[in-house]
Symmetry: C2
DNA sequence: ACCTGAACACCGTTCAAGT
DNA sequence: ACCTGAACACCGTTCAAGT
């Protein structure tokens, strides 16, 4: 048979990709344009490829998005730190990419991609704490999605009413309060400013 | 030619609408097809009208969606019941329409529509409890969005992995645990089966 | 006051065909 | 093994024009 794949073919502009390069380009584009504008056609354009080419690597957009959620989520450290530290590192992983929380929320709902975050939380909480870990995870996803959507809305000047208060103010306190309460520990002092 | 209209008027096919009738049709359609399939063109077709006609009543799809979120949300009783009861009635209001939680979550993030739910929670918690109320609301939105997305995914057979356990099992317990913990009350017994 | 008709700039996905 | 080209069935939104 013919085998084109293993040749280096130095001369021509043959954009040849695999699953990983597509996912990497998509993840970078997500961070630039946000989830709403992350289309298969845009990803293809970024890779100098026709939109249909993406369907060689991923069966659907949904499958590609699940892969992105997995990549965002695997950055969470698995070691059993205390709950608040684990919760914060989950939140920070979601914050690391634009609309990361929203993407992980919907993917996690569809049960695609193993819940690395749930495992980390259970390790932090000790044995027989599945329900608490689940509740904390739901809180983190809700809170972080809200906060992230709000950040982006405010930067694009979509504020609605007449009040001028910063919508992000006090959100860290709400986060710590929620996590600590569900974990059943005393609310800790705010961490030092980074 | 053909006349699909409901033809209450004897003579002509003049579908004449206002803001309210458009919103009502959209809300009914949301419940039938879900948020992902709720397009301006579908709503227009339901009203026997061209898509462009909707833009006389609403400036954008976003504005229409905000109105729907408001309608879903105003069903929440404002009286100061105990926290768990208030939280459950918020959840039930979101559950009352397909993808209600997801819709309210994104609308609430953009600060469109006054937060009727936040007010109700603060009334249940007593004075100086804004942060707790916010945390509970974030938990409710996260939890309910997850649960609702999961219900729909499972009914369409989008289950991914090999385990066969019901993804909805135990979710009521997680809800009660989360709300009670953030409110700072002892977890109550499960309510009687309806 | 409310709607039509036509257009513009987009979508996700499929599939035969190329190399 | 990986991609092109063309098509199909859609999107949200604008705007002149009709009644």
């Amino acid at each position: 048979m013919f085998n084109y794949s293993e040749s280096m073919s130095p001369d021509h502009n043959q954009a040849r990709h695999d699953r990983d390069s597509v996912a990497r380009a998509a993840l970078a584009l997500l961070d630039e344009v946000g989830l709403a504008d992350l289309s298969m056609r845009r990803i293809a354009a970024r890779l100098d490829v026709q939109p249909s080419a993406l369907y060689w690597h991923f069966a659907s957009k949904q499958e590609l998005l699940a892969e992105l959620a997995d990549r965002i989520t695997t950055r969470i450290p698995a070691g059993s730190a205390d709950v608040l530290t684990t919760a914060r590192s989950i939140r920070d992983a979601l914050f690391a990419y634009r609309d990361g929380a929203e993407l992980v929320l919907s993917t996690y709902a569809l049960r695609l991609g193993s819940s690395h975050a749930q495992v980390a939380l259970e390790a932090s909480l000790g044995p027989a704490s599945t329900e608490r870990a689940t509740a904390i995870l739901h809180f983190i996803l809700g809170h972080t999605t809200l906060a992230q959507l709000r950040m982006h809305a405010e930067s694009h000047g979509a504020a609605a009413s007449g009040d001028e208060i910063d919508p992000t103010a006090g959100l860290d306190a709400v986060f710590d309060l929620g996590v600590a309460a569900i974990a059943g520990i005393r609310a800790s002092r705010p961490r030092d400013r980074a």
